[in-house]
Amino acid sequence: MDALKSEVKEPRRLVEKNWFLWANLILALGLIGFTLIIELSAEPPFEAYQKARKAVSLARQSQANIYMVDELIDAEYLLEQSKLAWQRENRRWRVNRNFYSARRLAAQCSTKAAHAAARSIAKRDSLRELTQNGIREIKAQIEAFRPDFQSLPLDNRLRQKYVLSELAIMESEAAFKRQDYKKAAARYKTAADYISRAGSEATATITNYYSNAPRWRQWVQETVRWSKENNDVAIVVDKIDHECHLYSNGEKIREFNIELGPNWIGHKLQRGDNATPEGCYRIRRKKANGQTKYYLAMEIDYPNDQDRARFYTAKARGEIAGNATIGGLIEIHGDGGKGANWTAGCVALANPDMEKLFKLCKVGTPVTIVGSSKGTPVRTATRSLSDNGAKNVRSAE
């Protein structure tokens, strides 16, 4: 019975053994196949991608997003393309994967980003230095220009440019403090533009005006000589200094403050231009209180022959309207002391001063009106500084 049982168990054991062998064989083959597939598969571009990513990160830390925008955008685009190429290959059967393109794009990205980082740092440092120097220089120009502006009768348009340059340089300094050098450079450039334009326009205006200085000097000398030779009084009006000088026997005996028309720089050319004429005149008529609305007045013989010649030449050249008239009734009168240039071209004195002058002068007294009796040459420091500033702006760009 036992022998029979053992004969029955023998084939079953045999079957179990075979089955176990087969299972092991399949498992072994599977493992070998799996190992082969893993070994034959291409290595993913992880390292290359990480390198590229770190390079882009470094470029951003170097503010390439501000100073090398296009290069950073290119680098980020290459990184994205590298990732997409990697993704594309991951979707393929392992043995068919090829990460060459992803790796190449990552390498290109690394190069581009490293370049952007280096250039960005260089550009930022350079811009910081240029802006720092530029701010210092423009501030110096503004300060150099300040006395000129306070003493010279420049119009509000120029003054506005001056103030705008001050505001822009303050904004530039604020941006510089928070290390926004691009903004700081932009505002400093604006300040440089304003101060340069204001400086050159002001200098041009004054330089042009002072080109008459030799003639003014000659007129003053002739008037003083006349006073001396004729042992009589003569008046010299100095527009720049806003003073009226009274000479007697060739000696200056009195100085009075005066007020002029608002457009007092330059020569009167036509009626209504609110300018005070320049030239050698004489008192034509004296008007006592009651004969003038300005307390006392002494009318001068404007226009003289030179004034008329200048007027007709300007008209012929079309510099003034065809229906313009030369004007007249230019007086030295009272009601001055208002603290502003308010007349229509006349010379106004405070009433007590006018009284004194009125008493000392008579019809025929010479009245010489000049831009400046001193002939002080205009300062040109502002303009030369402005030129340097413009050069720096170009460098910053």
Partner: protein, 200 residues
Amino acid sequence: MKVKTLVAVLVVIFAMTLIVGCAKVPQQELDAAKAALDAAKAVEADRYAPELFNAVKDSLNAINAEIEKQNSKFALFRSYSKAKTMLAAALAAANNAKDTAVANKEKVKAEANDLLAKIGPAIDDVKKLMKKAPRGKEGRAALEAMNADLATVEASVAEANTALANGDFLTARDKAQAGLQKVAAISEELQQAINKKLGR
């Protein structure tokens, strides 16, 4: 008995293969992190919290690399647990960048508003001071010039208000600060003239 054991082992291996092999890309978390970055960008985190914003951008790139690294592996060995951890940190960092940017922006806005609020009264004070200023020959002309300067400052203040309304708070603050400085300079100039007149 041995057959049963072998079958059990194979079933366990098969089940594990199914479980591990089914590991999915954490797309939801990835989308959430990207949305958080976009939200940070929308509040100008790149301008008001640039370092935090750049760090989040870099984190997302690192996460992409980690995900693709896992995608490159045999399905059986993929694991996105590291990517999930990184995504959770990136989401928190993006939210932090957004919150910091909003706070910084609000701070700059408040400073700009504060400065702009000070300019009006400062200009009024200068105008009051002008009434006390000397009005001699030079005085009147100087006052006229100062008035012109104030008008220029007021125009600049208007530009600052426009920048503020447009959400450009840094420009608004810079302009307001410059305007206030200029008004202070005019005031000082006036005060000196008044003191000079009073012989102080």
